[in-house]
Symmetry: C2
Subunit: 345 residues, 2 copies
């Protein structure tokens, strides 16, 4: 008997929103279409930035496009996000952001007043994080071919630490620190987009992470890996790091800080906070002997005041992430499978 | 008597296609909204790239987003353009492109086959120009919020010459060399978009310029300034350089090579080839004593085989560009005023 597959194959042959989720489908897209064509020592670092040889120095280089909707949300806007996002990707490579480029794709009909507000916000964020916007580009697409403003920022930074901080440096026994409570960015953006009104005001966690990272490095903490939690949330970041490093990770659900409003919103909407996007949170992998120092330094920073030790890297090499839940049961974490909340950054 | 302005003011307060033309409206947008917020020594270089201090070296940094429609056109595609465009912007700063980032904004529903073709084309172009794609980002926007694929590439390069080549180095007496015939990219894209059929096949001039620039530098030519001719065509590039350098420029229309098909298409469509986009053409400003050497070196390169001496920088400091036409009459050139052919790159 010859049974025809009832799924419309067209869906498997076109780009879907999930390809931009930062989760499983994004990973498939990268491994199928991009990595085979562009493999080199730097892209293989599988980090948010590439650490490159540059004369006597090392240069860290990264890029990010921002397509968030709405452009303005509680706690931030696309302009702030575009600066912080790239500064943060550099910070996660232990690099101090020095110079940024800015490329705008504007939609015909965008009010100039909106553009002005976004640019002002970018200027404030650049000042705050100490980066200079040095080169740019502006394109305009016809009405209906864009969505107000898309912004790309790319950045070059200089290594703060002697050696790059990267997934390949993760070791068994490393402790995992989470810089603060999770899920606020995703829920704030979604609430704003869908017009949901929660009891307590909920702001995005959108924040620059460079000061916290530089405090850790200056404070003498040995850092093995840093990763900011963006589109796929904490779970996806941990799975990626486990796979890239080939190490197993165990985390304790009870140790992961989730705000009451985020918890409530997630329950109401059927979302898992572990997969909700953040824009000002990161995990740090540090050797056991450094974890208390790291934690006390982080607690003194603005973004790390509620940091928590959430788990550790085990001796196993099955590259799996196990979450021990509040009832003591274990659950294997996967990457975000499809698209949870699109257009979040 | 109080006469009301009949123009709908709304048009003056929103983004129009002309803001992306690379001409007068783009310039107004930059000078009104961007430069006051982001002025620094590097953005003030008013070049397609920024030359930055970096330890003992100097680093050249640039960015470009590509929103061309259609994605495939005679002689090229958006992928090729995205690599060449950024390599060329670096070459115009006398820099050898080393590393590129690639950020994709994909529209839901884009056939994966199309994405694959574009990426393959990028890989071939990267190989050809000797650059490595080392970092990237992928976003997906909902159907109807994009136009298939937008690509941003940013690039870092290393100075080939001892000192940067920039508009500020233009001197009176400099001769102006044009690397080849103009207007082919704009006409080829428009013909393809509008389904126009010209008698003779017309391919875009889309090409990498790095080998030609490196040949000039290796050959010992003193280069004062280089500029590739993109959105606003030859006229806009010359006006920009005259204004940035504060020098007057004179060019001879009879010396500017325009292919027969481009000339024919322009006459038919009421376009001026001086304002039609190019993607593989540049002007070089060289001192009188270097012009013959430069010209003979360029003629040996693939992109410069039909190069021509089209004019010179005069003693005047009125920053104007004068075109002497074939009848011996002078005409002052301006930047492209509005939008001639949108979505050309």
């Amino acid at each position: 008997m010859n049974i025809q597959c009832p799924l419309p194959t067209i869906h498997r042959e076109t780009i879907r929103l999930g390809h931009g989720s930062g989760g499983e489908m994004t990973q498939q897209l990268l491994s199928t279409y991009i990595q085979p064509l562009f493999n080199n020592a730097w892209i293989d670092q599988a980090h948010d930035s590439a650490t490159l040889p540059w004369g006597a120095d090392r240069l860290v280089f990264t890029t990010d496009s921002f397509v968030i909707t709405p452009l303005f949300f509680p706690g931030g806007d696309i302009g702030k996000l575009a600066i912080y996002g790239t500064v943060n990707d550099l910070a996660m490579g232990a690099a101090e952001a020095k110079f940024l480029s800015c490329s705008l794709i504007l939609e015909e009909g965008l009010p100039l007043e909106t553009l002005k507000k976004v640019l002002q916000s970018m200027a404030v964020a650049a000042e705050e994080t100490g980066v200079k916007l040095v080169t740019g580009d502006t394109k305009v697409v016809e009405r209906g071919k864009g969505d107000g403003i898309y912004i790309n920022t790319s950045g070059v930074g200089i290594l703060m630490d002697g050696q790059p901080i990267a997934p390949s440096r993760i070791r068994s026994g490393d402790q995992i620190l989470l810089s603060g409570d999770i899920g606020r960015h995703g829920i704030a953006v979604m609430a704003s987009r869908e017009g949901l009104d929660f009891e307590s005001a909920l702001n995005s966690d959108c924040a620059p992470l460079n000061s916290a990272v530089s405090a850790l490095i200056r404070g003498g903490v040995t850092l093995h890996c840093l990763r900011d939690l963006t589109r796929g949330g904490l779970a996806t970041a941990l799975v990626e790091l486990a796979e890239t490093s080939g190490r197993a990770i165990e985390v304790e659900e009870s140790q992961i800080p989730v705000g009451e409003s985020v918890q409530g919103a997630c329950e109401m909407l059927g979302l898992d906070p572990l997969y909700v996007a953040n824009e000002g949170r990161f995990v740090a992998f540090v050797p056991e002997e450094s974890v208390d120092l790291a934690s006390s330094i982080l607690r003194e920073t603005q973004v790390g005041s509620s940091c928590a030790k959430i788990g550790r890297v085990t001796d196993k090499t099955d590259a799996q992430v196990t979450l021990r839940n509040n009832l003591g049961c274990d659950r294997l974490l996967q990457r975000l499978p499809g698209e949870q909340l699109p257009r979040i950054c």
